[in-house]
Each structure stands twice: as C-alpha cells, then as structure tokens.
C-alpha cells in the first residue's frame, strides 16, 4: 500500500537536480555554500549554508579581552570594512559607560569612515566587472582604487586595519597640513567620476548582463529586513546616516540614494545596485569635503590615558547600541557592561551581510545558473563579517564542485555580445 502511495508521490514531483556551489569555489571570493535546485538551466530553489569561517570573535570579546582590546579585535572581523565594526562598537560602549566624545573626533571618525566607503565600493565595482568577464574594467577600477588606499595610508599609517578608534575619541589627529593630500584624492575622483559612470552605466555588455538580473522587489526587501545599497536599489529609503543622528553625520544633510534619481524608475536589479554604489562614491566625496571645511578645533580624545580609561570601563554598568552605515549596509552592535567585570558582559555583532543573505533565495529564483556569480556578488557579500561564532574541531566534509561557474558566466557574456553584434 505504502509503495503505491510513494509511486504516486514521485509522479507529482518534478525531477530536479541539486547543485552545490562552494564552500570554496572560484566564483565566490569567500567561503559559503549555495545549494541550488535546478530545472534545466533555471534555478527553482536556493538554500544558503553559512558557518565556514567561524572565529569565535563575540566569545573572545565576552570572555577573554578587555574592552580596549576588543576594539582592535572588532577591526579584524572584516578585512574590507575595518572601520564600521569598531565605529559601531565604540558608540555602543560610550553609550553604556557614559563617555563623552569631543566634536573634532566625531569629524575625524566620519572622514575615515567615508574614505572606507569609497574604497569598498570601488573594490566591489572591480569584482562585479570580473564576475561578468569584463577584466579590463576590473584592472582599471582597482588601479583607480589605489588613490584612496594611498590617502588612507597617509592619514592612518596603514592601508587597512587603521586602528583609528578609541573609546572617547580617535587615536590620531588629521591636521591642517594633511588636508591638501586628502583634497588631491577627492579631486582625482571627481575628475574621473563621469568616466566611471560612462563605463558602468552606458556600456552594452554590462547593461545586458545586469539589467533585469537578480531582481529584489521593494516589498521583499522590506519584509526580509534587507539593509544598505541592496535595499536602497530596491527603492527603500533606508540609511543609518539618514535615520539616526550619530557622530558628525548629525551635522550633515544626508539623504538615502535610490536609483530613480538617474534612471527615473526603480527595478531593483543588479544594474540599480551599481547605480546606487556609484552615486554613493560621489556622496562620500561631498561628505569628506564638508568635514574638512567644517572641522572644529579642540581635543581628539576625552581620556588619553589608557590605564585611566580601563578603570572607568571596569566600573561602568549599563547597556548601549551602536549603529553605523557600513559600505554594505547597517552595522549593528549591542553591548552590556557589568561593574567589576573586565570583558564585556554581552557583545552582539550584526554585520550587514547577515541581513542581506536572506535576499539570496528571492533574488536567484528563476534566474539562470550563469547569472549566479553576478547576482550573488551584487549584494557585496562579506562572509567574514557574517560568521564569527566559534571554532570547530574539524572542518565540514568538503563538497566537490562540478561546474566552473565563472567560465559559464564568461560564456554568457560572449554569447550575448555575439547576439548583439549580429
């Protein structure tokens, strides 16, 4: 009896293949596994499996480190947004312990955070060009990105992991003599901005590969609590710099950028995400320029002595939240402190990709396998941010990959180009 029932069941179910992509795969820059159920070339379902790069960071912050050490640990949550996490963490701890921040420090924080946004968006633009097989653009954009990396090295002494943050201020000043070097970088980006816009918004190959691919509708973005450029490209006016008054952003007039300012409509596809990120580069240039013009004088830190600061932190009791708009979206930290306890009593980190991964199944359903690399890359996923929890004894059993996705993506670009030429 049961056999007959089973046979009926199999008749109803349409046969489909499951293709595992990752955890390690040439098309993905960081480890994650996507289990795609496919029917022919079409994707009918996606399962996202994360957890391959757990490093136990929150546990370390809650059990081993003192809060000052935790700032520099937070900086290492992600190699690209190494400002966002310490920024959100120091705001949360300052709120919990009641530490004041001098206005000059707020401006320096914002300058360094916006420089990071420029470099992160350019890095993404290069990766996106590479994913669709447009490597000349990839080389060009990453060459252009070096300018802001040099400027950051000039200000902080390091291209990444800049260690600028401290509770109650920043560790390094940006002086009047350093302004011309920063302005030079900003002028350079303004001079090439139209050229970049031409490449990414008018080029026929990029247009063909990104228009109407990986669509995320506004309702879905709101329902799934998507953040950052991914949400704004779907027409959601959500930006922590606009909503929350925090740091020097409270003195600026920042509006969330949605793609309809250039294209006149919101589609919510990969192309719209390019538009939003491009415009945000320009917005960041304007913010840095304004900060340089209006930077107040005064101290850069309220308590320069680390030992005294640690004593204050040990006595502190309370809780706080820190919200910062990272290049990929809202970065959220929650901190609870208990008096007499060295490490933080509770530290919760929510990186933007954590929220944005919820959009992947919706975006990929109905797409072709060749579109997976660009559609997945379009949320600018950062797996190191998303995974932090704990170290495991043994790695998960590896899943072998049968398809070279990147090759498939290149093939589609070539095919579309050939069709266009005909």
């Amino acid at each position: 009896m049961s056999n007959i029932k089973n046979m009926d069941d199999t008749k109803e179910v349409k046969t489909s293949y499951t293709i595992p992509i990752g955890p390690i795969h040439p098309a993905l820059k960081e480890p994650i596994r996507l289990d795609l159920s496919v029917d022919g070339e079409e994707i009918i379902d996606v399962d996202v499996v994360v957890g391959q790069v757990h490093r136990g960071m929150e546990w370390l912050g809650m059990n081993r480190n003192n809060p000052i050490q935790t700032i520099y640990l937070a900086e290492r949550i992600c190699g690209i947004c190494s400002v966002s996490h310490p920024f959100a963490l120091v705001m949360a701890v300052e709120q919990a312990a009641g530490i004041e921040v001098p206005p000059r420090a707020e401006y320096i924080r914002v300058i360094i955070a916006e420089m990071e946004r420029i470099h992160s968006h350019l890095l993404w633009a290069g990766v996106a060009a590479h994913e669709i097989g447009f490597d000349s653009v990839f080389y060009l954009v990453w060459k252009v990105r070096e300018e802001i990396m040099d400027a950051m090295e000039y200000l902080a002494g390091n291209r990444n992991s800049k260690a600028m943050f401290q509770f109650g201020g920043v560790r390094r000043d940006i002086t009047e003599e350093q302004f011309p070097r920063v302005r030079k970088s900003l002028d350079y980006y303004l001079s090439i901005f139209d050229q970049l816009g031409n490449i990414f918004l008018k080029d026929k190959t990029i247009n063909m590969r990104t228009r109407n691919v990986g669509i995320l509708k506004k309702e879905d973005a709101l329902r799934l609590t998507i953040v950052g450029p991914t949400a704004r490209a779907s027409g959601v006016s959500k930006d922590a710099r606009q909503g929350h008054a925090y740091s020097a952003y409270a003195d600026m007039d920042i509006k969330a950028i949605t793609p309809d300012v250039i294209t006149g409509k919101v589609v919510g596809d990969v192309y719209d995400r390019i538009v939003v990120r491009l415009l945000e580069i320009k917005q960041s240039i304007e913010i840095i320029d304004k900060c340089l013009k209006e930077m107040p004088s005064g101290a850069i830190i309220s308590e320069p002595k680390v030992a005294k600061l640690l004593a204050v932190l040990k006595k502190a009791e309370g809780e706080g939240i820190g919200v910062h708009e990272a290049p990929r979206g809202e970065c959220f930290h929650y901190v609870r402190m208990e008096a007499g306890m060295d490490p933080l009593a509770c530290w919760k980190v929510r990186a933007p990709t954590y929220a944005n991964l919820m959009a992947i199944p919706t975006m990929l359903k109905g797409e072709q396998i060749a579109d997976v690399p660009i559609a997945f890359a379009s949320i600018d996923p950062c797996m190191s941010c998303t995974n932090r929890a704990i170290t495991v004894k043994q790695p998960r059993k590896g899943t072998e990959c049968l398809l070279d996705l990147h090759e498939l993506s290149l093939e589609k670009t070539r095919r579309l180009e050939a069709e266009f030429d005909r």
Partner: protein, 179 residues
C-alpha cells in the same frame, strides 16, 4: 503616517500590553555640533505578551525593521533583546526599540516572529543554537553557524556548565591542563 514622540510610543505600548509591559526607558543623547538627538527606547515585556508587542509595531510602522536578537546568560535566566527600528525613512527620526524578554532556564521557550517579520529567520536560528532556547513554530530549525558535528547540548554563549569549556581545551596553542 504620524510620527509619535518616544514618550507617546511608550504610552501606546502601555495601552496595548497593559500589565505585560514591565518597564520602559527612553535614551536620548545629543551628538556633534548641531546637538541632534540619537534616540532609543528600551522596553521590558513578559514572555506571554511578547508576541503582542511585536504585532503592535505594525501599527507604528508599515514594515518594522529587526536588526538582530541579542542574548545573554544571567545565571538562572536567559535574557533576549529584540532590536527593532522604526521611522527609518525620516531624517533623524529613526528610533531603535529594544524589546527585552527574560526566560527561565527551566523553560526557555519563545514564539517565532517570522510570521510577522520573515527576515527574522537567521537571527532566530542563531539564537537557538548559541544560547540554547527553543523558538516555537520556527519554519526552519536547522543550525545556522555551528557545523553538524558540533556536540549536541553545548551552547557557546552559555556561562554555566552547558558552555563550551570542554571544547576550548582543544584549541590550537592551548595546553590541556595536567598533561
């Protein structure tokens, strides 16, 4: 839609939840030169009226945003804080609302909110495996970050004997005591 002040928001929760609202605190902080306000509200609710309080957000904001669920081990109890955000479309009007629920360790159960906010699935899955609570009615109760070979009944964020102490000894660079 009308934008309520933080005091009005707390009042509206009071009238919606009644005795279910245990306490409330409004945090306002002036920032930078223009002294605009950074605003946050902390609410403490009973486990029984938690679902009702989440549903109440829908009357304040069309799609309330959930940032994350934070959890801490208080000894005999587990404290969960659901960090919501409302009025995010308006400039400097966004308010973070932390809804605090304290669950006894003898019965650490909380209803799912994925029927109201589908985006809450990841953070509910993470909270389940990390602090060892049970989310009732969760559509997908597999582990999220922990691998399948991670021992059952060990919760990394617990500070009692169900914590990960035994696993820590085997971390690289650490010596096993007595050997």
């Amino acid at each position: 839609m009308e934008i309520l002040s933080p005091e009005k928001i707390v009042e509206s929760f009071k009238s919606a939840l009644g005795d279910g609202l245990l306490s409330s605190r409004i945090h306002q902080q002036e920032v930078a030169i223009t002294r605009n306000l950074f605003q946050a509200i902390w609410l403490s609710v009973t486990p029984g009226s938690f679902k009702k309080s989440v549903a109440h957000f829908s009357s304040l904001q069309d799609y309330p945003h959930l940032a994350v669920v934070s959890s801490s081990d208080l000894g005999e109890e587990i404290e969960l804080i659901y960090h919501f955000s409302i009025y995010y479309e308006y400039q400097f009007k966004e308010i973070s609302v932390g809804v605090r629920v304290v669950l006894p360790k003898s019965k650490p159960e909380i209803p799912t909110i994925t029927d109201i906010i589908p985006g809450a699935l990841f953070t509910e899955r993470e909270t389940q495996e990390m602090i060892g609570i049970k989310v009732i009615g969760i559509p997908d109760d597999r582990r999220l970050f922990l691998s399948d070979d991670f021992p059952i009944g060990v919760y990394p964020w617990r500070k009692d004997d169900t914590g990960p102490q035994d696993l820590l000894k085997t971390l690289p660079g650490q010596k096993v005591p007595g050997r």
